[in-house]
């Protein structure tokens, strides 16, 4: 069964910490994405990547960075976590040129 795996389901971090959210896919997909989901705001795109070592800003990149050193792994980094980054973070992947995504199960991050 093909999968997008996010390393943690729940995380609690302190304000100011550097936070790493990991995502791994086993489908040999070229494209990978990070979204956050908040009540009343839907899914908003943070960063995406179409290839190894390549990254593009989404709609809300401020306060985040990403790393893609290998095709199967896409990491989201919160440089200095803040309470307004408390959210559900969703990783997704897709084949190049095809619009459908496969999502991971999500990471519920709470920043205190």
């Amino acid at each position: 069964d093909v999968k997008v795996t996010q390393s943690s389901r729940y995380l609690v971090k302190r304000t100011g910490e550097k936070v790493f959210l990991e995502c791994v896919q086993d489908m040999d997909h070229e494209n990978m994405f990070w979204y956050r989901q908040d009540p009343g705001l839907g899914l908003r795109l943070i960063y995406f990547s179409y290839d190894v070592k390549m990254k593009e800003k989404g709609d809300i990149p401020e306060g985040y960075s990403v790393s893609r050193e290998k095709k199967e792994r896409f990491s989201l980094i919160l440089e200095s976590a803040s309470t307004n980054q408390t959210s559900m973070y969703l990783c997704a992947s897709s084949f190049g040129g095809r619009p459908g995504y496969t999502f991971g199960s999500g990471t519920r991050l709470t920043v205190v």
């Binding site: 839907g42 969703l90 040129g97 459908g100 995504y101 991971g104 199960s105 519920r108």
Partner: protein, 113 residues
Amino acid sequence: DQQVKQNSPSLSVQEGRISILNCDYTNSMFDYFLWYKKYPAEGPTFLISISSIKDKNEDGRFTVFLNKSAKHLSLHIVPSQPGDSAVYFCAASLNSGYSTLTFGKGTMLLVSP
């Protein structure tokens, strides 16, 4: 500016009846549309899609209708079941090889027995 709009935050339907979820878009360059279903504490799962060259696509109990002139699509679920209770997201894509999906804010569907 929100390019994909789901104006109904929630919808309640009785089991066995039809559920109709609506979605409007503003960008006329969108030409591929998808619906995702999301349960709490899980990632969204793909449900059904439609290309702009079609006006209807059907998959079992789920049918998506597209009205390009009105920039409107709808998802029909017939008959609705309690297990259909979830948040439904409409998403749209530009026809480029490397296009991201733009999502609506979602509609929470509650199907009561």
